[in-house]
């Protein structure tokens, strides 16, 4: 009896002495309620489902399980900061707040706390300058890339000459919506098009004035930076005034199924930019079905798979997992810290071979991140809405944006931020 107890004690002691791997914590600052929930839910579902799949299929990242902590922000900046404060102590490896307002508040906090922040396709654009923003990443594309992608698409449609054309920007009257103005102004000087600016106040339920102005001025193209109800109303108003939908191009945050479905057939032909694949025709979704949906572990009802914003959340989680793997390789440990995660993000390489191996061939552009460049290549594609089939169709390759213009703007803005905050340049 004594020997048995001794053996049990020894076994317990040995177990306790061996290194115990903690979970890898990925907070999800989501918004499933409130006026912006329609966009927040599919993103949160995609983000969660990828982690669930990796846990179920691969046993986590390098054998360490992922623990995702979801915190509801309601797209409210104060709540977003509260979520950050309440979850960072759990060992959070990276934050993706899906809100430009929250991003701006978190930039100084994550820098002080040494936690990386990934704002994919949103946030502070000049954070692409890794020399200034050590902990903020916005690969593979940002708002300014989007503005340039839209202009490049218009250039393609016009044989490279848009001199004398008019492009109207319909934008959410917020920090987010105003982001592309400077870039478009520079591109307007370069290409000779006339830029017309039309602001829409939150939430954007009433846009009669803006669309009457568009009807009066008859711009050749309309570019939209909208979010939430503003998108659905804009698409409907554009249809009402019979603006040609193929000349109406939304940024990726104006390119969800929920943005076009309420307008029905009238939305046919509307275009939206994207930096990732659309639809569910990728092998990885078979794994999602097998390891996530069928066992009943899908984050939502499992009906969002393949939708534009779900795919974006899914893609964001994939990039986070690949960065964590890179961090594990660099540091030779499985149980990585936020600082190691940051290193992994800064050394991230995504190529076609890797994406194919992940079951996501051509899902996004190939790119690599570096100490200097936290923004990636800024490649963007154009998707067009097919109202009959109720699906987006990618109608272009992932093409480069005008880095000649954007690069200068990023340096200018980030250096001003560095001067204001006494930040010394890194990567020397």
């Amino acid at each position: 009896m004594k020997m048995t107890k001794l053996a049990a004690f020894a076994a317990t002691a040995m177990t306790m002495a061996s290194p115990v791997l903690a979970d890898l914590v990925f907070p999800s600052l989501s918004y499933r309620t409130g006026p912006y929930a329609a966009g927040g839910i599919p993103f949160a579902d995609g983000y969660a489902d990828y982690f669930t799949m990796v846990n179920a299929r691969d046993g986590g990242i390098g054998g360490v399980p992922i623990k995702m902590i979801e915190c509801e922000t309601g797209y409210n900046t104060e709540k977003g900061v509260e979520c950050y404060e309440s979850t960072k102590g759990e060992g959070a490896l990276v934050y993706q707040p899906l809100s430009t307002g929250i991003t701006y508040q978190l930039i100084p906090k994550v820098t002080a706390d040494g936690i990386p922040l990934h704002t994919m396709g949103y946030g502070r654009t000049s954070a692409a300058n890794g020399k200034v923003f050590s902990n903020v990443f916005n690969y593979p594309a940002n708002y300014w890339n989007g503005a340039s992608n839209a202009v490049n698409h218009i250039l393609d449609l016009n044989g490279g000459d848009i001199n004398g054309k008019t492009i109207a920007l319909v934008y959410h009257n917020s920090a987010y919506g105003k982001e592309p103005i400077r870039t478009l102004e520079e591109l307007s000087k370069k290409h000779g098009f006339k830029l017309s600016l039309l602001a829409v106040d939150h939430p954007g339920q009433e846009q009669k004035s803006q669309w009457l102005q568009i009807r009066r001025e008859k711009p050749d193209y309309v570019v939209m930076y909208g979010w939430g109800v503003m998108n659905q109303v804009a698409v409907q108003e554009a249809a009402n005034i019979r603006f040609p939908m193929e000349n109406f191009i939304g940024i990726w945050w104006s390119g969800g199924e929920h943005d076009v479905l309420p307008a029905g057939d009238a939305a046919n032909g509307y275009k939206a930019l994207t930096f990732h694949g659309v639809g569910k025709d990728y092998p990885v979704f078979a794994d999602v079905q097998k390891y996530v949906v069928e066992p009943g572990n899908a984050a939502g009802a499992g009906d969002q798979i393949g939708t534009a914003v779900y795919n974006r959340g899914f893609y964001a989680a994939m990039l986070a997992v690949e960065a964590a793997k890179t961090a594990q390789e660099i540091h030779g440990v499985k149980d990585i810290t936020p600082a190691m995660m940051r290193d992994g993000m800064e050394a991230l390489v995504i190529d076609e071979a890797k994406m194919t191996a992940l079951g996501m061939p051509n899902f996004g552009p190939s790119f690599s991140v570096s100490c200097e460049n936290h923004g990636g290549p800024g490649l963007g594609g154009v998707a067009q809405w097919d109202a009959g089939a109720k699906e987006w169709k990618l109608i272009s390759d992932f093409a480069p944006s005008d880095m000649e213009v954007i690069g200068d703007l990023i340096v200018e803005d980030s250096m001003a931020f560095a001067a204001e905050n006494n930040i010394e340049e890194r990567c020397k």
């Binding site: 929930a37 106040d201 009433e206």
Partner: protein, 332 residues
Amino acid sequence: MSANFYFGVEVFLNGLMAGVMYSLVALGFVLIFKASGIFNYAQGVMALFAALTLVGFQNGQIPFAHLINAIFGTDLHHFGWHMPAFLAILCALGVMILFAFIVERYILKHLVNQEPIILFMATIGLAYFMEGLGDLMWGSDIKKLDVGIPQGGNIWLEEKTAFLGGEDFYGFYLDNLDIWATVLAAILVTSLVLFSQYTKTGRALRAVADDHQAALSVGISLRTIWVIVWSIAGFVALVAGIMWGSKSGVQFSLSLIALKALPVLMLGGFTSIPGAIIGGLIIGVGEKMFEFLIGAPFLGGATENWFAYMLALLFLVFRPQGLFGEKIIERV
């Protein structure tokens, strides 16, 4: 006349139409305030809830399906029917009447003789409860609302007026949905006025609005009147929900349309049905014309939200009770 003049007229007409849409929301506030002295913070959410319920009935959606599935592991979503719009509207109206009963039975009854601020607080609670309930019942995805009201520019009007203003003018643009909203608002207001003037219940309603104590003393049941008023406000919310929901799809930001009603109420007064209409028209025309003449050309646009409140504030300074509101005299 130049094309610009006609564009100005077009903006004016669209301002009137937008004003009618604001009035539809403001009407619900007025009805409840008039009968019970309660500023119903939940009016915007009632419009959202009514529209969600309408689409739910139309599409045969199973209420609380997500909750049921999560608890019992089922995979329920729809009953498998598509209900005709008219029947769905009647069913949604039934739910709003039931809602009125519940509000009276479980909230208002317990708050009789409480301070107005307490009643206001109760409606704030009610608003958030309803928003959560709507989410739980019908889900938070955006739903397309189609009850057969035509949308898009009125082509007939465009063609008939295209000759005005020369080559640069393309005819007046008016949204068919807004035209319908105007017709419906006119019918609604006329019905409400006739109801309150010529029916026994309507007179009782007015008596309660004038003096609760006096109405009680002559045998009018305050509780019945409250149920009726909240039911009518629920119906008005349903109409507003249909009109606004047809524009943007039914989604949770629909509750924010209440923000558009506040300046209308400040201007038209909280106790006048015609005031809600006239106030809406003034706000609609005022904000649209300001945006057209000053906002867009000189101030960078997006002036409508703040200008509506500024206009209402200006009226308040000179006429605190609003254009048609009753002057409140507190006897010491």
